[in-house]
């Protein structure tokens, strides 16, 4: 099993006719994801890689019974694309776009939450259930099916960890990139809850970074979890007041430091690795290997 995406995923790609949208559609299809439709306003009736393109998400959902949408729409229009997907009735929206204004995301996140629609991202690499479905821009070839669930605010760091795990013969159930923005649809604690309920996830890796207090909040929940969690926090040497690449990676007013997160996690009994290799060591330990 896995969480969020699997063989039943029927995917719409919003922005399928763009360069990024088209390239990653081909990658997702090659991985075996069931891409049922594309949406680009004004391009309805065309086909991309054999996938029918519609003008609106509602039309695409009606015609194909899609349940998930992934968004490759430029930042000025991306929040609206999320809202359109939410209104059209999909269950899961994955927003890859980076650089969406915070104000747009406040409105959007509050709305999708009220609608009961799950949003992953924005500014994220998406997610993958190893061997089942890829909904995102993650490099499918490094993932192998197995018992480790992974949730992360960073894309490339996820790949590093997965690469290390896979090279040691430790596979993954689902890997979720929740995104590097300050306002995101799904936070650590949401994904931890899903992993806790997934019988096939035996250990969870949580990769956090400076900024905000999602990791501290997650630490509180982990105290109740039966599934063991291993963590890693990046940005231990980041200076305060500077945005480290991700819009959300900033220590402000003395809050959001790596130290505060490490302390909260350790207090919850979570082993916090100091290096990438140590993450894999601690996972192997937790798996009893």
């Amino acid at each position: 099993m896995s969480i969020l995406v699997d063989g039943n995923t029927r995917l719409i790609v919003q922005g399928i006719t763009g360069r990024e949208g088209q390239f990653h559609t081909s990658q997702m299809m090659a991985y075996g994801t069931n891409v049922v439709a594309g949406v680009t306003p004004g391009k309805g009736g065309q086909e991309v890689l054999g996938v029918p393109v519609f003008d609106t998400v509602r039309e695409a959902v009606r015609a194909t019974d899609a349940n998930t949408s992934i968004i490759f729409v430029p930042a000025p229009f991306a929040a609206e694309a999320v809202l359109e997907a939410a209104e059209a009735g999909v269950d899961l929206i994955v927003c890859i776009t980076e650089g969406i204004p915070v104000q747009d995301m406040i409105e959007t996140v509050q709305y999708v939450r009220r609608q009961g629609v799950r949003l992953i991202g924005p500014n994220c690499p998406g997610l993958i259930s190893a061997g089942q479905a890829l909904v995102g821009i993650l490099p499918g070839r490094i993932f192998t099916p197995g018992p480790v669930g992974l949730v992360s605010r960073s894309g490339t760091l996820t790949y590093e960890v997965v690469n290390e795990l896979s090279s040691r013969g430790i596979g993954q159930s689902t890997c979720v990139g929740i995104g590097g923005d300050p306002i995101i649809g799904t936070r650590f604690v949401d994904v931890l809850r899903m992993f806790e309920a997934d019988p096939d996830t035996e250990v969870v890796v949580m990769i956090g970074e400076i900024g905000g207090s999602d990791e501290e909040e997650a630490a509180e929940y982990i105290k109740e979890m039966r599934t063991p969690v291993v963590s890693f926090i990046s940005g231990r040497t980041a200076p305060p007041g500077k945005r480290m690449g991700h819009a959300g990676a900033i220590i402000s007013g003395g809050r959001g430091t790596a130290q505060s997160k490490v302390e909260a996690l350790e207090a919850a009994g979570v082993p916090v690795a100091a290096t990438i290799t140590e993450i894999a060591d601690k996972v192997a330990e937790a798996l009893g290997r």
């Binding site: 104000q103 406040i106 490094i142 960073s154 207090s213 940005g235």
Partner: protein, 377 residues
Amino acid sequence: MKLIESQAKAIFAETGIPVPPGRIARTPDEARAIAQEIGGRVAVKAQVPIGGRGKAGGIKLAAGPDEAYEVARQILGMDVRGYPVERVLVEQAGSIEQEYYLSITVDRDRQAHVFILSSAGGMDIEEIAAQHPEKVVKLWLDAGLGLRDFHIRDLAVRAGVPAELFPQLAAIARRIYEIARSRDASLVEINPLARLSDGRLVALDGKMEIDDNALFRQKALAELKEAEGDHPLEVEARKRGLQYVKLDGYVGVIGNGAGLVMTTLDMIQRSGGKAANFLDIGGGARAEVVRNALEVVLSDPDVKSVLINVFGGITRCDEVARGLLAVMDSMDIRVPVVVRLAGTREEEGRKLLEGTALTPAATFQEAAQKAVAAAQR
């Protein structure tokens, strides 16, 4: 991006939030003339993008034009916590009865705009929260409902603001909410919001932060960003579309992905060194981006070695290696460069770099250790 007091107050004045009469002076003579114009007591305030100006001696009162000249002479050219003072704001200093704190900002955890009001204005909000937590009153907004009159009454009552001030407070609160929305401000702060002896509420100081992601639709503010007082290398990197932060060490760092680069900085410290910068080249390592990144990092005189740390995901390591070779061929490299390629086709990538001036490294740790050692040699 942060706006300084005079920029924030210009926006306040434009939207109808009362501010004291005043103008910017660049010389003591200008300060004298402005004080003359205003008449009476004036405040002379250093215009720098950092808090704690008062304690650093960057804000002084003057009884009249001559004293304004004198304090402006002292403040102009002084250094406030690392920022040289090139401009002062000279404005009317009214007599203050009570100082409030009022702001609207983004609460990441609640994923909402939050209003903060306190009757203990005049000091930093962190200080108020530490010393008088009971005096910090918050109100979270629903984006669909927006700000309603009952919200403001609720906030004012809880903060102990007297009823006769409600109409003025309501007008100001509505306007800062409007600024937050229309200017994409992630912070609008009035501190102190002062009640003067004549009963008026006036914004004596203002601070604003604009969401960088929204600059595409905030053209006027984007122009201010160009002139912002960042490190010259940060300005240059921004022009080239790179995510770069200048740090105070000596190992230049280039990597793909914010988390990966942050972790690289951490590894350098673990290896006994200090990073000179953060630089994220993002997904897909195209040769042109790598060249731009190397040029920026190498133009930093503090850099004694460079560590390039790339994880090939969708992009293959052999392609990254070819891009690197092309760049190295056409550039004069004055310091050792350590390259770590991992992920898809890493073996092929490493083979391509064999026998070149680049120092290969197989793991994260090895790369950091080699880069630190090379810098200290």
